[in-house]
């Protein structure tokens, strides 16, 4: 069954961000009401490009308690979240024959960081007792492509798994 790349990308980002932010310390939960209240002070940006796709992921975090908890590693931790999000989405898209290379994270700092709506196809908010998180993602499809369900996927290694050869 052919699927729209944009729709599957958005699904993959949302599922990957939900799963990733459930593994962090502290864990974040999806916040449907967060769109008007989230205040982001630091964000990790990861760009990606492949034969069919290009775009970026931005993971922004805000909260004095979170900053204090992570101390000097606050920005590094956020950058790693953006890196892991890019990897998780890549693992999802690979099953449908799409792939990309992605950059190491670049950090942005500011006061009330935000991405203009027209620059991001997806914006999802999360929160925890210590702070807030927002994930933005954008996608540009470089040439016509339709996703087809793979008949039989070769098994990869799932998140959190370790395989010895």
């Amino acid at each position: 069954m052919a699927r729209e790349v944009e729709a599957y990308f958005a699904e993959s980002v949302r599922a990957s961000a939900d799963a990733l932010l459930a593994t962090t310390n502290p864990t974040f939960r999806f916040d449907a009401e967060g769109s008007d209240t989230v205040v982001i002070d630091s964000a990790g940006v990861v760009g990606f490009v492949g034969a069919e796709l290009r775009g970026m992921f931005i993971v922004g975090v805000g909260g004095q308690s979170l900053r204090a908890m992570r101390a000097e590693l606050y920005d590094d931790w956020i950058g790693e979240l953006a890196n892991q999000l890019a990897g998780r989405v890549k693992n999802q898209l690979w099953r449908f024959g799409l792939t990309y290379h992605f950059t190491p994270p670049i950090m942005l700092r500011g006061d009330r960081l935000a991405v203009a709506a027209q620059e991001a196809q997806l914006c999802v908010s999360y929160s925890c007792a210590s702070g807030q998180c927002r994930v933005w993602a954008s996608l540009e499809v470089l040439r016509p492509v339709a996703l087809a369900e793979p008949e039989e996927a070769e098994a990869g290694v799932a998140e959190g798994d370790l395989v010895l050869f």
Binding site: N83, Q84, P104, G160, V163
Partner: protein, 120 residues
């Protein structure tokens, strides 16, 4: 000679998590593939390297290619610790001599057990 483990990752957060997971081992750190390769080539006491893939300067696969080409490193074991889990990349790393593959976020007890097994 004490066996040492080298963790190669551009994220300080990940390096710190690996060091914490490997309590009991002496762990060295490198911030990218190039620094990792240079450390491996300059020391004979590293028995295991745990290496990220997506890093600046030199990525983990390039580092694997570089150190695998050197006879002095033939006893070194390497585990890839990455966000990626596609079979093509795993196969390539295996062909280049990697002994394991971990997809982040890793389980500390599992990584420690693998380190003990590979350094025994």
């Amino acid at each position: 000679m004490n066996k040492k483990i080298l963790v190669i990752d551009d994220s300080t957060t990940v390096r710190r998590e690996v060091v914490n997971a490997l309590s009991g081992f002496e762990v060295l750190e490198a911030v990218d593939g190039l620094e990792g390769a240079e450390l491996i080539e300059s020391r004979a006491d590293i028995s295991l390297a745990i290496c990220d893939i997506n890093m600046p300067k030199m990525n983990g696969i390039e580092m694997l290619e570089r150190v695998r080409g050197k006879q002095a490193n033939e006893n070194l074991k390497i585990i890839m610790l990455t966000t990626e889990g596609q079979p093509g990349m795993i196969k390539k790393a295996k062909q280049l001599g990697a002994k394991g593959w971990v997809v982040k976020p890793f389980k500390p007890e599992q990584l420690c057990a693998a380190a003990k097994k590979l350094t025994a």
